[in-house]
Symmetry: C2
Subunit: 692 residues, 2 copies
């Protein structure tokens, strides 16, 4: 493994080990001594020994090659120290020192130096401005935090060091353990992608959790995460979501936060589970660390209290789960346990009269039912059995089955014995049934992620050379917003268009319409008139015979509404019936080309019913984009109305994806409207802009 | 107060006090003895004394009038015992016994008897099938639960007894107190409305929380809650939300659960805060019990860690809150406390270097800032100050201001001293910043509720007598679905319509169109063709001269598409341009007439962009209905397009509300489409059905 020594060193040097207690360089030394079994070498030219260990003037003085160096010296000295590390053969380094990018321009320069040294010497550097690294599997606490983590199979990274201390404090209290625990700091060298790769290879890291404020290399992130999430679930809280949030992030770590829509699309398509908040991240992490995804979204609910059963049932729908319909045989078996008052369908309410044996039997019947994918085991406090008893029953059941079980044993904190039973069985427990259901939903979601089609994007055979030449010419033309001129490039990419030509006189317009030979659309051609309909610059369904007159009339109207606008002429185009849709593209600074799909017209503008993915999109993803908008039924055909050719839309989305990949110089692109019908889809208008 | 003795008795009889420990009738006796200072009279003809108290054969034997009777005898005996209570002058009764409506038909009959006795004798009965009642202000534990509640100013009721035990267990652990705590049971006599009224009058109940599975008298609930929420916040978890949930509720307590949309509308318009789950309900309750709503939705965030500050900022938008822009003077003052690394705008990040004095100063400056409505006080664990110190600072700040303060001091559980500081100051604290923000949002929401316009609905002067007569005739006509025949009634109610007449021949149609003298709409008139467009039964924008021909053509088409349908003729109506909207009405079993507003056409059908309120709706509420749909910008006018006359839509909504109130015999009504333009709105078509 690439970072073997970072997480599993046999020796550690602490460079900047301080003589003063309470200082970072001293705290990390103490933490190492308290936790670590390997050799520790304090480095401090001003001290002979610290905590009973001999001090060295420099890492170069240490008589053997050291696996891991932890640096806590003033930022200006870090580049020198880093070089010394490299000279001594130490490849893995944690830089705790602050005073880099986060403090402004001077610091940013230092950080660049640090990066260069690392790159030139192949150093793996965590930080700078990191709180350190914990690896419980190596008993390594290379942080200046006040506590060591408990062992576990979750690996966690955070871009906020302060958040690390909070999580550690809390996790130790609730008994949540970690394999690796990393404060990423400024991510000058190693970032979330490196750790995701590493933890995917590491068998002891079964779940990856991350608190991130930004991702620099979006494309690589998607590539890596898409692979990793086949085997290892990734749950991320991405902060800086709202614009207000993002501006706070900018002033915090100087991260250029990408737009949230891009993150959302990227996470979705790479199989990353996005947690909305901290509580969700750890709830998801806990269950993913101990249980396998169920085979179906059907949940069996077992309870001794009706009300809470109703609450749980309520919660299912909101999290995309369903109530399982129990098999006839299960219901027959249950008859033996159920009192006359009990509910005879899922949720099975045993009522307060049920004893622990009834619960055991019922739980087993439920688990055996093939219609049940997972089980929510609920209870209100009852005099008739204790939670230590009940949890033992649940733990037994877990041994017999692969089906997930989540607890909603309500009331105050469980007795230590009961807590322990559940912990050993890997069953999370929540007072709030809705929270238990939410945890279950993360397992179901991860199951979907594992099963999903990971086929790559098609590569269409297109007229590449012609398209490249046209793009070259368009670029040279220095037209700010490309309009009709861009239509032919689309054709080269196999995207059908409705040809249009620009008439400069009423007569030309009439001739063009005659050639088309059916109803036409007239549209003013002027880059200065953005909302053409509003200005009176669009006329739909004109008979060829009326075209000359309508041309005049439109010009007169525009003279009134937009006297200042420079007008090239009036575009004449065949009128094609269908639903208006839009396919767009915007280049995101982190993730590259972000493709958009939606219904066109005023409704999409107001209702914002659109979907996004990052290019390249596979056929599956393109189809998901089309199907996931709220207005999809309109495209599919409602009330007996014939639907549009969905495949042709999926095709256009993919071809735009390919176009975006081939031409990174495009900043923004709108195919709007695309006229879609049962016959196929054709682009009626295009606008695009080169990136700056 | 009406239930003085229920919550503040001086004497209590336990009827059915059992000789066997563990039985309900014994547990409640023990609980009373342990808690209550007044006189206690066990009633059990088979015992002489219990727990050192003399037993009586019947309540009629007790030598004095008893304030409160707690009944735990077999259900069949309950009616007799209830009559004895009444005979002895006891008006307030809690029936713990089960075996009523919840067990089926026989039980339901017994419950009817119980109701009759209560009604005839003016008894206040909680239950049957209740777990009992706690009143901490009277040291009264009249439940068979294992614990007594802690004192507090929240009053709580639950339709699930099991949920009561769970809540009690949990609340005692986290230190949440209650004034009254009621297990409603089957609500045969007293229900949520009675308790809401009572707790509104009761000064010690400052917040009302409820877990409900159904509300029987929806109209009265709205009336009562609308009044009460002026002074006392009400937070409700309504279970049985999804259809699956509702069916579970039905099999649980036999409640006829109304549709969720009606509950949502009813809660919204009566100022009830609906909690999505248990955690939310108690978070909202806690903060509402101790802090006052802020004057604005602008939040100041103070933190010593950037990352968590970003998370909090992220959460604001989702809960309808905003980041406050700090005043220049505040920023100037803060300069003294902020290190060079600190962020100089809200959220104020003091960085990990800040000590407790810095925090104190910064918090005070923030509170004094007029742009700040409330403050989120955050911190990650820091070596430089302790949470006991920090919480003292926050508690001090609370004393100086009416502005709400919520804590997000992250990490594990706070030290007891820190917990106590916050508890005394009434400041809730959460690890998850998003949860802290959510709690704050409940205060903001309640502020909006208190401030809102509570004007009642207008009463329009209409042609009541004419309308009544027409409705009478329509009813007698036994037409299943009223169509055009209903248009004139709308006119009587002052709702403008576009007149339409039915032609039976092409010539009649042509004549009607000539009279109209402009483009017309032709629409087949047949109750058997629901989707008229799909069948080819609608033609828009027909010139009067073409009407005869179009009539023929439509009839021929319909002969093909719907050969079996009985056709009355073809309706001829002036074509009116505008946006299509819909106003509808459906009678809900609990809440009565539910009014709907939305954009018309296929988009609303697919996108379901509609709003609901329960009639009668005030002008304010009608306006909210119109403004709250996602497509409102379309009505208001987008991209320079002229908007429609919103007032005319608000007017129609209110007039439909009045129509619904006057005519409870209407089961369902659709005004669809209503053509709305800047000139006003007119109904083009109507459909309604009488209730069964």
């Amino acid at each position: 493994m690439r970072f073997r020594s970072l997480f599993n060193p046999t020796s550690v040097a602490v460079i900047g080990a301080s003589r003063n207690k309470g200082e970072v360089g001293r705290e990390v030394l103490t933490n190492l001594i308290d936790s670590f079994d390997g050799e520790i070498f304090p480095v401090n030219p001003k001290a002979d020994q610290l905590e009973g260990l001999k001090c060295y003037d420099s890492i170069t003085q240490v008589p053997k090659r050291v696996d891991l160096a932890v640096i806590s010296v003033p930022s200006t000295i870090v580049p020198k120290v880093l070089t010394e590390c490299s000279d001594s053969g130490t490849k893995d380094v944690i830089v705790l020192s602050g005073g880099f990018k986060e403090v402004g321009e001077e610091g940013a320069k230092l950080e660049e130096q640090l990066k260069t040294i690392a790159r030139n010497n192949g150093l793996n550097v965590i930080g700078p401005n990191s709180m350190g690294v914990i690896s419980t599997s190596s008993d390594l606490n290379a942080t200046f935090a006040q506590e060591m983590a408990l062992p576990g199979n979750i690996s966690f990274m955070s871009q906020s060091g302060a958040f690390c201390t909070a999580v550690l404090d809390w996790a130790n209290e609730v008994g949540m353990g970690f394999n690796h625990f990393v404060s990423l700091g400024n991510k000058a060298v190693l970032d979330e992608i490196d750790l995701i790769e590493e933890w995917d290879r590491d068998k002891k890291s079964e779940v990856i959790l991350a608190y991130l404020e930004g991702i620099q290399n979006g494309t690589k992130f998607i590539e890596t995460a898409s692979e990793v999430t086949k085997n290892t679930p990734i749950v991320i809280v991405k902060a800086g979501k709202t614009e207000a949030g993002a501006s706070a992030a900018a002033s915090h770590t100087g991260t250029l936060t990408g737009s949230d829509v891009a993150y959302d699309a990227a996470f979705k398509q790479s199989g990353v589970i996005r947690a909305g908040n901290v509580e969700e991240m750890f709830d998801f992490g806990s269950i993913l660390a101990h249980q396998k995804p169920p085979k179906s979204r059907k949940v069996g609910i077992l309870t001794n209290a009706g009300g809470p059963g109703v609450m749980a049932t309520d919660a299912l729908e909101g999290y995309g789960l369903e109530l399982a319909e129990l098999q006839r045989s299960t219901l027959d078996n249950l008859e033996g346990v159920l009192s006359s008052l009990a509910s005879r369908k899922n949720p099975i309410d045993l009522t307060g009269k049920a004893n622990e044996e009834d619960y055991r039997e019922a739980l087993n019947y439920m688990i055996e039912d093939e219609n049940v994918g997972s089980v929510l085991a609920m209870s209100a406090p009852a005099a008739i059995f204790s939670y230590p008893e009940l949890t033992e029953i649940i733990a037994e059941a877990r041994k017999k089955t692969d089906k997930p079980i989540v607890g909603a044993l309500m009331g105050g904190q469980l007795e230590p014995e009961a807590q322990n039973n559940l912990k050993e069985a890997g069953v999370p427990n929540y007072f709030d049934p809705a929270r238990a259901v939410r945890a279950l939903s993360a397992l179901v979601e991860y199951g979907d992620i594992q099963r999903r089609d990971r086929s790559s994007s098609n590569h269409f055979t297109i007229k590449k050379e012609e398209a490249d030449q046209k793009m070259e010419r368009l670029r040279e033309s220095e037209i700010e917003v490309i309009g009709l001129e861009g239509m032919e490039v689309l054709e080269d990419y196999g995207i059908p268009t409705i040809p249009a030509e620009i008439a400069k006189t009423p007569e030309e317009a009439a001739d063009l319409a005659e050639d088309i030979g059916s109803l036409v659309v007239l549209k003013v051609d002027s880059s200065q008139i953005v909302h053409k309909s509003d200005a009176g610059g669009v006329k739909v369904g004109v008979e060829p015979a009326d075209v000359a007159w309508e041309y005049q009339s439109m010009m007169e109207t525009l003279e009134q509404t937009r006297p200042e606008a420079k007008i090239n002429g009036i575009r004449v185009q065949e009128m094609v019936k269908g639903e208006e849709v839009i396919v767009g593209l915007k280049r995101d600074p982190q993730f590259g080309p972000l493709i958009m799909f939606g219904l066109g017209g005023i409704y999409v503008e107001v209702l914002k019913d659109v979907s996004f993915r990052v290019a390249p999109v596979s056929r599956k993803q393109a189809r998901e984009m089309v199907e996931s908008i709220d207005g999809y039924p309109i495209l599919k055909g409602v009330r007996g109305k014939e639907g549009v050719d969905i495949d042709s839309l999926v095709d256009i989305v993919q071809r735009v994806s390919q176009f975006a990949a081939d031409h990174p110089e495009i900043g923004e692109l709108d195919l709007n409207p695309i006229m879609a019908s049962s016959e196929g889809a054709r682009v009626a208008d295009v606008r695009f802009r080169f990136a700056e």
